[in-house]
Amino acid sequence: MPTSLIQPEFKVEIDYNKCHKCGRCVQQCGWGVYSFNERPFPDDSKCRACHRCVTYCPAHCITIKKNDLALRDNANWSSEQRKNVWRQAETGGVMLTGMGNDKPYLSYFDHLVLDACQVTNPSIDPLREPMELRTYLGRKPDSVGVEPNGEGGFRLKEGGGVSNNIKLNAPIIFAPMSYGSVSLNVHKSLAMAAERLGILMGTGEGGLHADLFPYQDNVIVQVASGRFGVSPDYLRRGAAIEIKVGQGAKPGIGGHLPGEKINKEVSVTRMIPQGTDAISPAPHHDIYSIEDLRQLIYSLKEASGYKPVGVKIACVNNVAAIASGVVRAGADYVYLDGFKGGTGAAPAIIRDHVGIPLEIALAVVDQRLRDEGIRNQASIIAAGSIRSSADMAKAIALGADVVAIGSASLQALGCHLCQGCHTGCCSWGLTTQKPELTRRVDPEWGAERLTNLVNAWSHELQEILGALGVNAVESLRGSRERLRAVGLDAQTCEILGVKPAGL
């Protein structure tokens, strides 16, 4: 009997006329595609089209192609559906995958367009005029209280101003990805870039490695259901603390880091034995209701000397009510993770079918918080497939204070979205703990690329603001008047709070 009915997805073609027979591809491939006998021989079935070998081949003689094997057309049973059935019939297991939802759901961002100034108000040239992106993350009071300072001026009354806010030089942060799921060099790259950019990186749920302590002022430390690496010291080190309730790629699902990825360093950082699986429970077992969340928020505040505490939730049906509860429970920010958000590993069926899009969730949460008069009490971080500065600008216009980028930051470091994060074999050295692979990311190189990416998006956001005729990002934030919908139905427009183009 055949061991598998599934044929390779890709074909690796080597032009042997050009091949140097150097074996570089063999060495670079983390998936074990190549064997070598005087020349490299690819095993197509192992290829994930990550292009590591293609990038490093000195002769440029490798081509990866889709395997165009024809299956009989069937609009109902896609080839993927058929392959999944075969795969599960072989293994009896849950299908795992990495990165974000790749199904062709409507992208609302792609149906929203931005405004610009013409005649009645001038656009502003960001090359010649100041264009301000600085953003403060955290709870703001309803009003500012001042008193005379006795010298003809004013000073803040006690408690009259903003405290416990984190200054960001741009409304963008690096989304949390745990050490263990990604390598230490990835964490270092993110931390170094965050420090240079004056923004933040999230630790994810895997604790904070000692090598990152110098960057702790630019780090959000996460407390997730597994409580990995959580200690009083850890809580006091972060610039802010984040309670992860849910993740866009897998709402309602816990996490599973296989024992193979728990090496000595990860084990020390996570405070778990080496080689054991790190399993995060689906819920926090001390949060079965909103009042429990409030107690945890204030416990963490007490333990950390009143650092800002945020709550990360996945976008689900009742996200507006949930976010309102989270803010009323005392969160300084709400992190909304949409259903296209990336992940190191998730059951494919959950990733692709559970949760709602970020754009919708963001719109309803921002509006609900305004309706309840508590929008100022917490910042909103929007995440879940922010693919460009345009997505960022649109998210901000819908109401986000800050966007978080995870998939995009991994792509800056080489990720090609091959969806093999859960295997621990990442050829780009990102989602792996194998030393021969992790050393492929030089943190200095990584930090520079991440810095470039964020700077580039910041410049683009400045261009957008200039076209909109405003010179500070707070004038775009929540300004849905500057968005128009193209090709969305009336009800969706109403939910998004955006008029159709032409109105």
């Binding site: 100034c117 003809g152 707070e474």
Partner: protein
């Protein structure tokens, strides 16, 4: 001041008494419907304040606007005068516009129920060529009913604000043009000098006047949409396009303000009301919140100021007026004029003795002030303030500044402040 030549230019065409009691003028304007559209436009403006409290005839405002005629297109003009009703200084004076008798009856029902109406009369007007389709114009001198006020658990001002919101948003065809004490707004569709003449402004005397000439680009002119916009005794005339309108409006809605007009100016009026009256910010800080200094400037300030400005920007960021504007805010204590944070619209200021004047163009100043002591262009975001001696100053509590000291005492780059000296 010679007023006759102006009169000569304005022959009459039809009786102003021909109000639309019988629905002669077709469909009522959909006041509320305009809110769904952002109204764009450019404009000219003026403001004058005599800090000694000496009263000036409304003619000064008309003259200043007449020379700026080409800044408007005849689709909106208006004025606000302060100190004009000395016989009713403590009454809230409602200037009302009604499209028909039904709207008037509905609004008067509200007045009768919640206020003591001490005088209700048609607004005095005269027929003027070019002014047509006027709504029913009435004014009322009101005192909140003490029992209703008490049971509402609101201040008289909040009580009035609620009434204004209610009338503008729920009574079809009724619009509150102004609602302050000892002040009033006179506005309509036409060039400002025609509007001023129509309302007989030469018969009013005030210590502070503001005026406006409107150039709307995408809305049919309608009487309620002309400037100034007012709430209580705050009035605003505005030249500009507030590009942050969308978020300003959503921010105000959180505090219960209903933006029914879809104009930038309405939003600016409400923001001043929120910051000054409800959040009790001093005037100079309110200006700094609405036309914030740049972060690079804030970072260079002394620490105490930095903390104030950081908080103002972080908290009032959604209220910041971003985009080109020049604005004149009138109130019972005086007048404030301000530009946007990078000065994208014109604003010129001058002083002659106790008179402080601002206008879009210097020509207006030269028309009114025969020998100004000083004429200058205020810097971006730096307010020019004129304050009437002896009148309540909209700085709360003990925060009175000496009369010769203007705004920006606290923030901004000090040496760039425009100091208005008392003559």
């Amino acid at each position: 001041m010679a007023y006759e030549p102006l009169l000569d230019r304005m022959p009459t065409s039809r009786p102003a008494t021909m109000h639309d009691d019988f629905g002669l003028f077709g469909e009522r304007p959909a006041y509320a419907a305009e809110a769904d559209f952002k109204i764009h436009g450019g404009c000219g403006l003026m403001g004058i304040c005599d800090e000694s409290g000496t009263l000036m005839s409304g003619v000064v405002a008309i003259k200043a606007m007449a020379v700026q005629r080409d800044r408007g297109n005849g689709l909106g003009g208006g004025f606000a005068g302060y100190g004009i009703y000395p016989e009713f200084p403590d009454h809230f004076c409602f200037h009302m516009m009604y499209h028909d008798v039904k709207a008037k009856e509905e609004a008067e029902e509200v007045f009768d129920r919640y206020f003591t109406v001490d005088l209700a009369e048609p607004m005095p007007t005269r027929p003027v060529k070019g002014i047509s389709d006027a709504p029913l114009l009435w004014r009322y001198f009101l005192v909140p009913d003490p029992h209703k006020l008490e049971s509402s658990e609101m201040t008289a001002e909040d009580f009035v604000v609620h009434t204004v919101m209610r009338i503008n948003s729920t009574i079809d065809g009724a619009f509150v043009a102004s609602s302050g004490k000892n002040m009033g707004a006179f506005k309509g569709v036409g060039f400002p000098e025609e509007i001023g003449h129509y309302y007989l402004l030469e018969e009013y005397e005030g210590h502070t006047w503001t005026g406006h000439n409107r150039f709307p680009t995408n809305t049919p002119g309608w009487w309620g949409g002309a400037h100034p916009f007012t709430l209580l005794d705050w009035s605003i005339v505005h030249n500009g396009e507030i590009s942050s309108y969308g978020i300003n409006r959503r921010y105000l809605e959180q505090f219960g303000y209903k933006c029914t007009l879809g104009t930038d100016t309405e939003v600016a009026t409400y923001l001043f009301d929120l910051l000054l009256r409800r959040h009790k910010l001093p005037l100079e800080l309110a200006c700094k919140a609405l036309a914030s200094p740049l972060w690079t400037e804030i970072d260079r300030m002394p620490e105490e100021e930095q903390a104030v400005m950081r908080s103002l920007r972080a908290v009032y960021g959604p209220g910041m007026l971003n985009g080109p504007f020049a604005i004149v805010l009138g109130f019972n204590g005086g007048m404030l004029a301000m530009n946007d944070r990078i000065k994208l619209r014109p604003l010129v200021a001058a002083r002659q003795g106790t008179r402080v004047m601002v206008a879009s163009e210097e020509s207006a100043i030269r028309e009114v002030l025969d020998a100004p002591d000083r004429v200058w262009a205020p810097k971006a975001g730096e307010p020019v303030v004129a304050r009437v001696e002896g009148m309540e100053w909209p700085i709360h509590g003990d925060l009175h500044l000496p009369p010769n000291e203007v705004s920006c005492a606290v923030t901004g780059v000090r040496d760039s402040c425009e100091i208005v000296e008392v003559g």
